[in-house]
């Protein structure tokens, strides 16, 4: 008999096609967790220490910490999403033991980059005591490593241990900074603050060592992922740059900017206003992570399960519509909660000076940027959904728009007067939110198309 017929069956030795379907979908909390924590800790520590030191010293201390956090996030940002992707792929390939070695590799890189950055910046860029410079550089290493570690925290089952680690770490940092600071001055406070962070890092490391399993041996396999997903690297960079770029511009170019020490600058009006409003996103973030993301992740997984179990196209479309409905309800919820918080703060902002000392200009910026924070929290939530959809192009697009709009907008308001400060940030967050919303919407509208067509066998 002539003919090869379909000898294909030999090639397709698997008994189902489902193994050909790449289950993607991973959570990417894009370091917003650590970022919020860092803002909170800066505000609290500076408030605590303001009584202990002269204002110039407090300013050096808090500005240094702010710089450390900002630079660490920007430096480590390009690593974060790629590491998360690697871990997610390894989990779905049932090779969880490959995660810990990749974590060690990432720590090596992050510690190295953080160390070099810290030594260059504080060693050559500031005129302070050696202890101060070394402590600040050390802090930068720990913060970079903590940000790397926080990528993997979602993989841990025991959240209490994580919360405990952060609690102990920050309380220790605050107490040590305060205790050492009032006795031996600002360099000692920085030393104490860094030591507290070292403890935090060690606690997280211990939790991950236990939770991730695998061999304690560095593996550079993850490097391949940086080649494979350059868009994720760029996306991480853009995101963190977008978060900080308006502050950098205000530090360096605003009329009221102050040179705190060497290369360390601050912009009192803008800094206080925007940090306060960024604190306002905590309720919105909580709604997203506790309600929307968990519900969404479950339904999204159910969609894939249905595909594998042989669901019909109609069933898939129905499930997709359910996902869309639930996301819609979730975002309405988010709008409502964050809306109430923002409205409340805008209305009652007048009362704040009675609680903490804050100038009229700072208050104005606070009111403006509250809207920005409102938009930002929605943007962040949509961005996380985009990562579930594996829409890297869309994620890169909206984070890039965020950066560019923030640069242009903030630069433009800097040319005008204080009344306009903060509008650049608001516009950037708004634009990014609109684009992210459009991408989520279009992806969701044809979810089945994207799921099938992106799995190129």
């Amino acid at each position: 008999m002539a003919g090869i017929g379909f000898e294909l069956r030999k090639i397709l030795s698997k008994d189902s096609y489902s193994s050909l379907l790449r289950a993607y979908g991973y959570s990417a909390i894009i370091g917003s967790g650590p970022w919020i924590i860092s803002i909170v800790s800066i505000v609290i520590v500076s408030y605590l220490l303001s009584g202990a030191f002269g204002s110039g010293e407090v300013q050096l201390f808090t500005a240094s910490i702010t710089h450390v956090y900002a630079f660490s996030l920007i430096l480590v940002g390009p690593l974060q999403l790629v590491l998360t992707r690697f871990a997610a792929d390894k989990l779905s390939a049932r090779e969880p033991e490959a995660i810990f070695p990749s974590f060690l590799a990432a720590l090596t890189v992050a510690g190295f980059v953080g160390g070099i950055g810290g030594i260059v910046f504080f060693g050559f860029g500031t005129e302070a005591s050696l202890l101060y410079q070394l402590s600040a550089a050390g802090l930068m290493i720990y913060v970079c490593c903590i940000f790397i570690a926080s990528n993997y925290l979602t993989a841990l089952l025991d959240y209490r241990e994580v919360v405990w680690a952060f609690f102990v770490g920050y309380v220790l940092s605050g107490l040590a900074a305060y205790g050492l600071g009032i006795t031996w001055g600002v360099p000692a406070a920085m030393f104490g603050f860094a030591a507290g962070h070292a403890v935090l890092f060690l606690l997280l490391f211990r939790a991950l060592r236990r939770g991730l399993g695998g061999e304690a041996q560095t593996s550079w396999e993850v490097l391949k992922y940086f080649k494979k997903f350059p868009s994720l690297m760029l996306c991480g960079l853009m995101y963190n740059l977008g978060i900080w770029v308006d502050k950098l511009l205000f530090w360096w170019f605003s009329d009221q900017h102050e040179q705190v020490n060497g290369l360390i600058f601050s912009a009192r009006h803008y800094d206080v206003g925007i940090y306060l409003s960024l604190l306002s996103i905590v309720p919105g973030m909580a709604v997203f992570f506790l309600k929307i993301e968990t519900d969404f992740a479950e339904r999204f997984q159910a969609f894939f399960d249905l595909v594998e179990k042989g669901g019909t196209l109609q069933q898939l479309v129905d499930t997709r519509d359910e996902i869309a409905d639930s996301l819609g309800r979730g975002f309405l919820n988010l709008f409502a909660v964050q809306g109430v918080v923002t409205a409340f703060l805008v209305v009652f902002a007048d009362r704040i000076p009675a609680i903490i000392s804050i100038s009229a200009i700072q208050l104005g910026i606070f009111r403006v940027t509250l809207f920005g924070a409102f938009l930002l929290v929605i943007f962040l939530s949509l961005l996380t959904i985009l990562f579930y959809f594996d829409d890297r192009r869309g994620a890169l697009l909206c984070t890039s728009v965020f950066v560019v709009a923030n640069i242009i907008g903030s630069w433009a308001t800097l040319q005008a007067n204080e009344a306009w400060y903060g509008f650049g940030f608001v516009i950037a967050a708004g634009l990014a939110m609109v684009i992210a919303g459009w991408r989520v919407n279009s992806r969701l509208g044809s979810l089945e198309y994207h799921v099938f067509t992106s799995s190129q066998g």
């Binding site: 008999m1 002539a2 003919g3 090869i4 017929g5 379909f6 000898e7 294909l8 069956r9 030999k10 090639i11 397709l12 008994d15 189902s16 096609y17 489902s18 050909l20 379907l21 595909v307 594998e308 179990k309 042989g310 669901g311 019909t312 196209l313 109609q314 898939l316 089945e448 198309y449 099938f452 067509t453 992106s454 190129q456 066998g457």
Partner: protein
């Protein structure tokens, strides 16, 4: 000897399009191909081999004759080249044109002009070159719309995942073939030895190069594939939700069957001329869509001169007491050797001196061969039945008095013609052209043996016994066979008729 991929010098007279056969796989079709090439030294041939997967250490089973001047091959289930695994960026106008022509083909399937629409689509793809890749079919929105609309029409209720990947596996080999058409040797005639992928390739090659397309079938490809699909356990089907018209076949099996039928129709439609080995196969070709006007029946043939020595030796060594029945073929299920063994038991019961020689490779389906040996033991046939393994044809024909064939499926078996040429009568099941061969279609030579139903040991034994016991009957049947072969199954006639077809305009 020519190697695959070697540059071809000039235009070949005939390009043979070969799917899973000559020169890598031996068998009836391959033997035939080798005969034809060797018998026409004045014509230049080229080979276009279509295989499943490339195996670097695959051996040629034949010494390729010197008049083969071109040799190309394509492997349909190999991985696609990289350029076809990444979707190309395409302007919306170009996209619209390609998908319009694909859509027109898909809509026109089973309608008038189906072939022309397909050829237009192929030309469209060729025209775009690398600017349109196979991956576009799995990522373009337009393609998705088509896929889902087909699903909603025909597959609603089935697993979409299975559907999606089935379509990919259905299309990918065809795509490889479309790509390979550019590499097909230049020839005045494309001669395909089956429909299926080879028929499709020949149709595309002939259309793109303005040559003629000759289609010959030994078995009926579509029928064989349908049987294969029916038995395929790997085509996943969901449990039936509602009874339908096609209750015997699930949707996915139907998808495959329809695909192979489509390949058949395109081949039959494209062919300028079709040949068939015997009348019943011609009917099947017509059933699967061939125009009866185009079909010519050309049987297989042998050279009677090659058998003169055997005939002479047989005559010289006549032993009236010898009663040896021979079987010459692979010991596989399709030959139904078990029925032969049961018939042997019945024959031996009535005719004490009867012997059965079963000659042929036992290693192709080892489980089946082993089961046959065991069955012979159970039937207490140790002294009467011998499994002798592969044997040289002429020697074997000298050792036997009657040839038996119990196959459940055959075309025009060489073994019958060869037995006849040697003067050996044949008892065969009524499959393929066996009845035509044994009884003759009123050619006046008389029966050259007996025809029996399939799987019927009683009938086979009843057919064998008179031939074994009556030496006169045996002799007259043997003579009838020789006369028939000389008259209708002479290879010279076959070669002459094919040469005419090759050189016709």
């Amino acid at each position: 000897m020519i190697r695959p991929g070697q540059k071809q010098d000039g235009v070949a007279d005939v390009c043979l399009v070969l799917e899973g056969t000559y020169p890598y796989i031996s068998g009836g079709v391959s033997t035939w191909v080798h005969q034809i090439i060797s018998a026409m030294p004045d014509l230049n041939f080229a080979l276009f081999y279509i295989g499943a997967q490339h195996e670097p250490d695959a051996e040629l089973r034949y010494e390729i004759p010197a008049n083969v001047i071109g040799f190309e091959e394509v492997y349909l289930f190999d991985e696609l080249p990289k350029s076809d695994r990444v979707p190309s960026k395409l302007g919306s106008k170009a996209k619209a044109e390609i998908y319009a022509s694909l859509g027109s083909f898909l809509e026109g399937v089973q309608q008038e002009g189906e072939r022309e629409r397909f050829i237009r689509f192929v030309a469209e793809v060729h025209g775009r070159g690398k600017a349109f890749s196979c991956a576009n079919l799995w990522s373009d929105r337009e393609s998705w719309e088509m896929l889902t609309s087909i699903y909603r029409h025909y597959m609603e209720g089935e697993s979409f995942l299975n559907y999606f990947w089935s379509s990919r596996f259905l299309v990918q080999p065809a795509w490889q073939l479309i790509r390979a058409v550019e590499r097909m040797p230049e020839a005045k005639v494309y001669h395909s030895l089956c429909t299926g992928y080879a028929g499709l390739a020949a149709a595309m090659g002939a259309a793109s190069k303005g040559s003629r397309f000759l289609l010959s079938e030994h078995g009926i490809y579509v029928k064989e594939r349908v049987a294969e699909v029916q038995n395929a356990a790997w085509i996943t089907e969901l449990p039936k939700r509602r009874p339908g018209v096609f209750e015997d076949l699930g949707s996915f099996k139907r998808l495959w069957v329809e695909f192979f039928k489509l390949l058949g129709r395109i081949s039959y439609d494209s062919a300028d001329h079709i040949t068939s080995l015997f009348g019943n196969n011609k009917k099947l070709q017509v059933l699967y869509g061939a125009d009866p006007e185009k079909i010519e029946v050309i049987p297989n043939g042998i050279r009677p001169a090659d058998f003169e020595a055997v005939v002479a030796r047989r005559e010289a060594n006549i032993d009236p007491e010898r009663r040896v029945v021979g079987f010459l073929g692979r010991v596989v299920a399709i030959k139904d050797v078990k029925t032969l063994l049961r018939a042997a038991r019945l024959v031996v019961d009535r005719c004490r001196g009867a012997q059965f020689l079963i000659a042929g490779p036992m290693d192709e389906d080892e489980d089946y061969a082993e089961a046959c040996v065991q069955l012979a033991e159970q039937l207490d046939l140790d002294r009467h039945v011998k499994f002798v393994g592969p044997r040289q044809r002429d020697e074997f024909l000298e050792e036997i008095d009657v040839m038996v064939l119990t196959s459940v499926s055959e075309g025009l078996p060489f073994v019958i013609i060869e037995s006849f040429a040697a003067g050996v009568p044949v008892v065969s099941t009524d499959v393929g052209s066996c009845r035509e061969l044994i009884e003759g279609k009123g050619d006046g030579f008389g029966p050259a043996g007996r025809v029996t139903p399939i799987g019927d040991p009683q009938a086979i034994a009843a057919a064998l016994l008179p031939l074994l016991e009556d030496s006169e009957l045996r002799r007259s049947a043997g003579d009838a066979g020789r006369a028939r072969v000389a008259a209708s199954y002479d290879q010279e006639d076959v070669v002459r008729r094919y040469k005419e077809l090759y050189q016709a305009n």
